[in-house]
Amino acid sequence: MRISLALMLLLLGTIAQAKHGLVIHDAIIPAAPPSMTVRGAFMTIENTTAMDIRITKIRSPQFASAEIHQTVLQDNVYKMIKQDVLIVPAKGKIELKHGGYHLMLFDPKTPLQPGDSVTLVLTVEGGKTHKVKALVMADESPDESLPVHQH
């Protein structure tokens, strides 16, 4: 089971997820308790163009709604701040990972199973959209540390 998931992840990663200068890989939805109605999505987004790319909207046909958030640790308080725009720097990248930027997906229309593929639609300023497939993970990644993105 694990091997097939790993292969799927590899496949999704390589298929990329490349369009309009955006290359997205390792898009995952970490394993979570079945009772959770809010899921997080994490990925790496690269910008191969010479101009910053501004992602202004996120949605999924499998969820009621979605938002871009950033976890910030300020004065020892965790804050989850909704972002109106996600800027991917020219010839650079942005990582959506624990303790930093992430996507929040609200209310799955059907319960998610490990191995499911979730379609995410990113809208770039100017109106172009970009589809990403994120893989729902089975096991938690053994994250050995408590995240911190300090301000």
Partner: protein, 254 residues
Amino acid sequence: MWKTYLLLQGNAIPAPETIPDSGKLSGIIDRMQTPPEKKFNPLALIGVVVFTMGLGFAVMWLVSHYQHRPLTEADLPADLKQHYLIGTKPVIGIELSDNLGKPFTETRFKNHWTFLFFGFTNCPDVCPTTLLVMKQVWAKLAADAKAAPSPQMVFVSVDPDRDTQQKLNGYVTYYNPDFIGVRGPHNKLDILVNQVGALYGYEDGTNKNNYTVNHSAQILLIDPQGNMRAVFTPPLTVNDIVNTFQQIRKFHRG
């Protein structure tokens, strides 16, 4: 002569019929005039032994008293100083309930070390990560050869409106069936939150249904007497917490 002697001694001159015969009298005078023989006195030996024992106990008491004197910062090993809280600060007045619907009061802290941290189940980033870290902390401590009892892991919901008992139960037990979830109305929750120096709040301007809750990042350690004993703040690794906790447990007395 014996008459004079007896007078000098302050004795009444006995009536003639009570006067001892001269043989006995000379014996008495002889005993009075010769120095007493050097004799082994058991009382003296007992006295010496008792004194020495008394001295021994006094020394032991003093040493023990020194060892159990109130700790100051100077006593802490350097690497514990940033976490360990000196003194007693009991956590009290707690009237919450747990993920199984049972009451959760400060009596739950007695006779256990307790890790306590805050979050809410609609949190897809920080809270799952914290629970995963604590799950690994728990596993490492359980594997400890010295087999000391496992600490309690308590997740306190700062979102009682959405975190029902059932939801909270499904959430914490997903990570470990022994983990405890705690919830309660805001006024009761605030009693716990304020005492341990934490805070929480709702981010302004977000969707009414999809709001997030800002909350303190610290992980509290409560000792088996129910006192706040240590604070852990990120960044933290599983090994940071495991090693520091083991040191604190060894260092802690009382």
